[in-house]
């Protein structure tokens, strides 16, 4: 289906991704510093960047581990944040070529940014641009993490520099693009609320987390906040 998936090629994808790759490198630096400070060591964060390759999920896992949460809770938080890649993978699937390994490689390199760059409009995606953009982001994310891990070793305890406040700031930066949506009204329990569904889900999720914090082990409020997504059940009829 390559002939119907757009004229752009690998080179165009590689050029288009440069500004985002620079930003992702910086983001990787902060992940490396914070993951090391969260007690993840020096090697595990880099391996996680190469395999999980998803900023929000990796920051969430580090945050839960730092708060003393269980490994299962940290992993579940990461996977719930990455659940969006199931429908995202489905959107690009018809435009991919090749056998099992080629499809697996494209799937691994599909992240929010490469998915956006590879979009050709009207529900089409360009596999060559997806591959180039994904590879650029993957390399930038790993190198950034590596730099952060090494840099984190030099600066020592990040709490001394006030970096403990960096987690919520980073999560807010990751949340804001998620709130952009074409839908302006949310229907919940028969009520029509004049705000986009992701914004309502965010408010409910934050409320669930804060209410549960005094009564549950670290990390559990984060996973429980996922219950807010049930408002999506009545959204599309």
């Amino acid at each position: 289906m390559a002939e119907t998936s757009g004229d752009r090629g690998f080179r165009e994808g590689a050029v288009a991704v440069v500004p985002m790759a620079v930003a992702v490198f910086g983001f990787g630096l902060s992940y490396g510093v914070l993951a090391r400070a969260a007690g993840m060591g020096g090697v595990a964060p880099v391996v996680m960047s190469a395999t999980t390759f998803a900023g929000s999920a990796q920051f969430a896992a580090a945050s839960v581990l730092q708060a003393g949460g269980a490994a299962a809770t940290a992993a579940l938080s990461a996977l719930m944040l990455n659940a969006r890649y199931l429908p995202i993978g489905v959107t690009v699937a018809p435009w991919l070529e090749g056998g099992f390994w080629s499809r697996l490689l494209h799937a691994h390199l599909t992240v929010d940014e490469s998915w956006v760059i590879a979009a050709e409009g009207t529900g089409r995606w360009n596999p060559r641009v997806l591959l180039a953009a994904g590879m650029g982001l993957w390399i930038a994310w790993i190198l950034g993490t590596l730099g952060g891990v090494l840099f984190g070793n030099v600066i020592g305890d990040p709490a001394r520099l006030g970096l403990d406040a960096a987690f919520p700031a980073l999560f807010l930066a990751l949340l804001m693009p998620q709130l952009r949506t074409r839908e302006r009204v949310t229907e919940v329990a028969g009520l029509r609320i004049g705000a986009p569904p992701p914004a309502i889900a965010a408010l409910i999720g934050a409320a669930i987390a804060l209410v549960l914090t005094p009564f549950t082990p670290a990390g559990v409020p984060i996973v429980a906040a996922g219950a807010a997504c049930v408002i999506g059940l009545r959204r599309r009829r």
Binding site: T51, A61, A67, A71, A78, A83, L104, V223
Partner: protein, 88 residues
Amino acid sequence: MSDVWNVVIVSGVGTLALKATGPVLLGGKPLPDRFTGVVGLLAPALLAALVAIGTFASGQRLVLDGRACWASEPPPSRSGSARPCCWW
């Protein structure tokens, strides 16, 4: 195997499974709209929870300390020695 490596392995394998389900297993078949609508709201719900916990939780306590000022008054105080101006 330490907790950290368990998280790295489960997260890595699980994420690849999520990403590859469409391209490798479904081969272009669409998902039900209701399913997509629900899954799409997981990320904003969890990210908002992480913002709220990271700003207002200290262990199992809710506190209002320097971290709540991260947007306007850098540098914030360290959480370990934060003196709550109120907590409940």
